[in-house]
Amino acid sequence: MRTRTTLPALGKLAALAAAALVLAACGGGGGGGGATAPGAGAGGEALTLGFSQVGAESGWRTANTKSVQDAAGAAGIELQFSDAQQKQENQIKAIRSFIQQRVDVIAFSPVVESGWDTVLMEAKRANIPVILTDRAVDSTDTTLYKTFLGSDFVEEGRKAGQWLVEDTAGGSGPVNIVELQGTTGSAPAIDRQEGFAETIAQNPDLKVIASQTGDFTRSGGRQVMEAFLKTHPDIDVLYAHNDDMGLGAIEAIEAAGKVPGTDIKIITVDAVKDGMQALADGKINYIVECNPLLGPQLMDLVKKVAAGEEVPQRVVTEETTFDTAAAKAALPSRQY
């Protein structure tokens, strides 16, 4: 009797353990995996860079990763790449492992803003310079890292607003703007809203009549735009915090029987391939670039930092803007 009851229980346990193993493998596998490969180490003539990436959560991020990998190869820098799968603990683990391997420079895109002081202090004590890419940390002690290389999201918002100010310069009555925000509370959403609002304040005719989050996704952009179109029948301009939400909104505008780009002018940020295609087709009017290809700039900084040269605390990614003509020209060679 006893054996008969314990056997299924054992089976259950084994299955649970197997499930737990699968979960553990999924959670932690990527964290250390890339970082444990034996590198050339310090002392050799080739520089070693330990790079911890946020994850692979978007096309933008994938392009960012590829740019770093390609640029490292081109610059002859040994790259120790580690994917944090959007978990801070994986990233801290990766950075500690970089310190143990005594890489020459550590670079990373922080998953979140806070909680980095301890591990950055460890890097400082080990005399390994740290470069932040794409996202900042909120440490008050700025000596913990050498420099921060990334986009200026406020400036992106300003550029978007500037185009609208110039486009409506003729002045023919009020212009009704709706805004699709990124994920609530995220730095790009807050900053792109701020920069845009600040710039369009120059012209009192420009008014944001509705602003809602579309979570940076196409689905979100479409659903919110559908609701906007019904509540506000007189929309003139759409400002979306990224291309994807703009693309979703285009579907909603077309379903409402209006012509995107003509009836409703559309401004977005990012300049990913699909967005550029829509811009070339005239469905989007203007795109402010948010460049993920910061690999070459990063390698430049790595070399300078490793050589002990002074670098500025803040380096802004080289970025441009596109109108329809520029999009048509840039589209064939667009990498992401």
Binding site: A19, V22, C26, S211, S219, R222, A227, D244, A255
Partner: protein, 349 residues
């Protein structure tokens, strides 16, 4: 029908009235390019994926289970269909789209069978068993799409959410048809009773001759298929597969819809009409936030407040309190002779 009326219809009605107050044209429906167009249609159209996912969830919960992998299956089905279409030599042909859709559904059925296998055959707790797929599955979807958003340009695929049958969006038609079919099959045959029996006591129902294992297996496959159709609708709606965000947290909304509809998470009793009502309530809530213009910083608080209100109003203690107050009010004028028996009959349920 009486079943539907006893369900909490009032939150839905209240939300619709709120919208009407803010926007007098809220109920207006017109024809746009041979398709009904209006806020109400949006609610039905955008609510169709959630309604389907919640329907599958209802049956799973009725067997005392839960399926956390719904959102992941949504992402996988969209990813598989769109990747197939985008990488085929003829990405615009209906045949390619059909194959992609078939592949997505077949894979979803296999994933559902995997869940069913873990739960029914190995006896793993459903919440753990489906957690495996919830976590690993999104990675699978990302692997399929290579971490990119896959955009497709296929008229047939776009038609899943873009076309209409007699001016009614196809998504709404499909969801309604599946609901009608499930209601018919579970309520006009013994299947519904068997599902409930398994939920109340799987061992007792097995001893009574019910094939518990096959029933549990079937509901997980069905839930995955519902999720896959929802995933196809979602990705067709934007003509793209977004492995990272499609169906994210949809399982929680589906569970919420089931619970708002009055199905007990302890299993054994379920209401299909209630689930439909729950799903529509959640979608209306989302649409309300957009059209009333609730700022995104507080929209989650607004959602939470509505959900808490709905559940408070359904709680037995609160209902008893309300009844007592109503009785006291009724007692003030000379009470009618029939009032007392009617009240005792009422408190019996």
């Amino acid at each position: 029908m009486r079943d539907l009326l006893r369900r909490p219809v009032w939150p839905l009605v209240a939300l619709l009235l709120l919208n009407l107050a803010v926007m007098p044209s809220f109920f207006a429906v017109r024809l746009q390019d041979g398709r009904l167009y209006g806020s109400l249609i949006d609610i039905l159209h955008n609510g169709a994926p959630l309604a389907l996912a919640a329907l599958g969830m209802t049956l799973v919960i009725a067997t005392r289970g839960i399926d956390l992998s719904v959102g992941t299956v949504v992402a996988i089905s969209g990813a598989v269909a769109c990747t197939w279409i985008a990488s085929s030599p003829d990405p615009a042909s209906p045949g390619t789209a059909l194959t992609g859709i078939g592949l997505a559904l077949a894979l979803a059925a296999a994933l559902g069978a995997w869940n069913g296998f873990l739960v029914a055959r190995l006896g793993i707790q459903p919440i753990i068993a489906t957690l495996v797929l919830m976590t690993a599955g999104r990675g699978l979807a990302q692997l399929v799409t290579d971490g990119q958003i896959i955009t497709v340009n296929n008229g047939f695929f776009a038609g899943i959410s873009g076309s209409a049958l007699l001016a009614v969006p196809l998504t709404v038609v499909v969801a309604a048809a599946v609901y009608a079919l499930v209601a018919l099959v579970t309520r006009r045959t013994a299947l519904g009773t068997l599902v409930e029996a398994v939920g109340i006591n799987p061992e007792a129902s097995r001893l009574a001759g019910v094939r518990s294992q096959s029933i549990v297996w079937t509901v997980y496959v069905f839930a995955a298929l519902c999720a896959a159709v929802a995933g196809l609708m979602i990705s067709s709606n934007v003509n793209a597969a977004d492995a990272n965000n499609a169906g994210l947290w949809l399982e929680l909304d589906a569970i919420l819809a089931v619970v708002i509809g009055g199905t007990s998470l302890a299993g054994g009793r379920y209401s299909i009409a209630g689930t439909l009502l729950g799903a529509l309530t959640i979608q209306t809530l989302t649409t309300t936030i957009y059209s009333v213009g609730i700022p995104p910083e507080v929209s989650l608080v607004f959602k939470a407040l509505v959900v808490i209100l709905v559940f408070l109003a359904q709680a037995p203690k609160v209902r008893a309190l309300m009844r007592r107050r109503r009785r006291r009010r009724d007692d003030a004028p000379p009470p009618a002779a029939t009032a007392v028996p009617a009240e005792t009959a009422g408190s019996g349920r």
